[in-house]
Symmetry: C2
Subunit: 338 residues, 2 copies
Amino acid sequence: MTEKTVQTIADLARLAGVSKSTVSRALSDSPLIGEETKERIRALAREHDFQINASASRLSLKESRTIAFVSHPYYQKKGFGVADLFMLEILGGISTGLAKSHYDLLMAYVDPSDTEWPARYLKTGRADGFILMTSTRKQHHIKALVEMKAPFIIWGTPPANQCFCSVTGDNFGGGKLAAEHLLRSGRRKIAFLGGPAEELEVQKRFEGFQSAHLEAGLTLDPALVTYGWFSNESGTERTRTLLEQHPEIDAIFANSDFMAIAALRVAQEMGRRIPDDLAVIGYDNLTIAEDSDPPLTTVSQNIPLAGKLLAQNLIQYLQTGVVTNVSIPAELEIRKSA
Amino acid sequence: MTEKTVQTIADLARLAGVSKSTVSRALSDSPLIGEETKERIRALAREHDFQINASASRLSLKESRTIAFVSHPYYQKKGFGVADLFMLEILGGISTGLAKSHYDLLMAYVDPSDTEWPARYLKTGRADGFILMTSTRKQHHIKALVEMKAPFIIWGTPPANQCFCSVTGDNFGGGKLAAEHLLRSGRRKIAFLGGPAEELEVQKRFEGFQSAHLEAGLTLDPALVTYGWFSNESGTERTRTLLEQHPEIDAIFANSDFMAIAALRVAQEMGRRIPDDLAVIGYDNLTIAEDSDPPLTTVSQNIPLAGKLLAQNLIQYLQTGVVTNVSIPAELEIRKSA
DNA sequence: CTGAAAGCGCTTACAG
DNA sequence: CTGAAAGCGCTTACAG
């Protein structure tokens, strides 16, 4: 017979010669319990590797102390791109933020066309709130969440008339930083190689880009402003068109590292030397940005911090109802391409 | 006053005019309940959007119906690479596999030097089992898991003397496929650009590579076999050395797409035309393999399937104690580089 | 500061 | 086939 392990607070109470109530209070650090008693019980718990049962605690508390990270299944997806790498990195930050408040991180892969999932997670008590990244049919899901008053936070810029928590990168600042750097190095024919024009993030980056020009007393040539997807292919195609139609371009500000790296390649094929003939700046500072040829100068966001804030601000909202909308700063990671 | 919602099985029981026991049994599809009764209760549950409380159910069942995916925090990591993209893709598969059995997926970010985490998750009843990918100090964690008899499954090849569940890619088959393809196209001076020599995966790929040569009646030139890291940098450096010392090389089989893409670039810089002068094959079939120049021929593994099997086989182990070790097939994704 | 007792919402052995 | 009752392991209002 191995020594009977201490499984419940009742076992611990017996050992300590106190009641279950006292053990429970001691372990949750209640002010009702004397410091000596607490310490004695804690020592006993440590000694016997005691861990409180989460299901029982959650049932009693009526809280799951769990946050669901909402993502989509990859049924028809072929591969993984920017958004995915980004998501992975932010997940780490989220987990750090949640751990601080002893919350668990649940992965919720939901069908993009489903709107019942918030109810399913909330009513079963499997999650207390949700974190949403950019996703297919995002507005659609946000609407469902708002309607059922589900607690959630999003990565991205919330529409002006909405009231829910968000964390976003400083896209205006990022666009501005990029343009300022290029202008400072004497570039005057700078192309804006944007992501989808309808995305708020992209619009903000453009505004920052524009603002840097205005402050320098320069006006933008609208012909050098173009939009596409964040992908490699889109970057390739847009860059080619841009350089063919406007050979005078001396710099490109791309809205993603993938686009920027594509631009690098196309430009070099077309005989431009980087950065002498053409400077290129990307966005996101993914790993691939270090390995490009030449290494990519790019706008960097503190993604772990973003994750941590997503976690902490959602928990704060759960506990106090305070709605926060925060923006994290952008920095320029200067390498060789600009 | 809004209509009072149905929160518990007691509410539902009242509505249906039966006992809680009956409702509970009906919802869990117990054979004890008549089909008509079941259907009536289910209809009522649907109508009122009733969802069973997970904490209560788990407390009663003494199961969390939750699997923890074990990963490490990214404190000092700068960026994300192969392993990460791979992990993200497999996570999707795992979630699919778990969903089928109504298990939840929890992210467990644990300190690589900690060995207490399995106890923490198990004793609190937050997880019933663990999924481990390649990780820092993997053997160390496996040892801890085995010692405390924690249920788990790993991605990778288990050491021969161990008895626990695993899912792995067919690395032997992958190496063989690559070599066969190169030999078939007439290559005779094929370099093996390996990952770390001590990794079982790498050893298996080499064995497959070798086996294809032997079957073709050819012997390997040991000078063309080299090991490094899976990274871009390592690929660059090894390829350069290889091509400088052995200009006769007419093909390279790289152990990762990152290495292969680096090889592509270096070889082209050194004046080789791909695939005419030099054929290159990678491993993993990541997104970046499609976008390389030229597009990369690479060994592809069915990652979503791998994830699904990790989930299903772990659950099977939990429920039946059956230990499975499965290997998923490798395929060659032929593009332009070989 | 501490304890006895009720309650959180399920599941299931037992009795019918 | 159905129900009353005990039990899962916590938390906390209430009483002292």
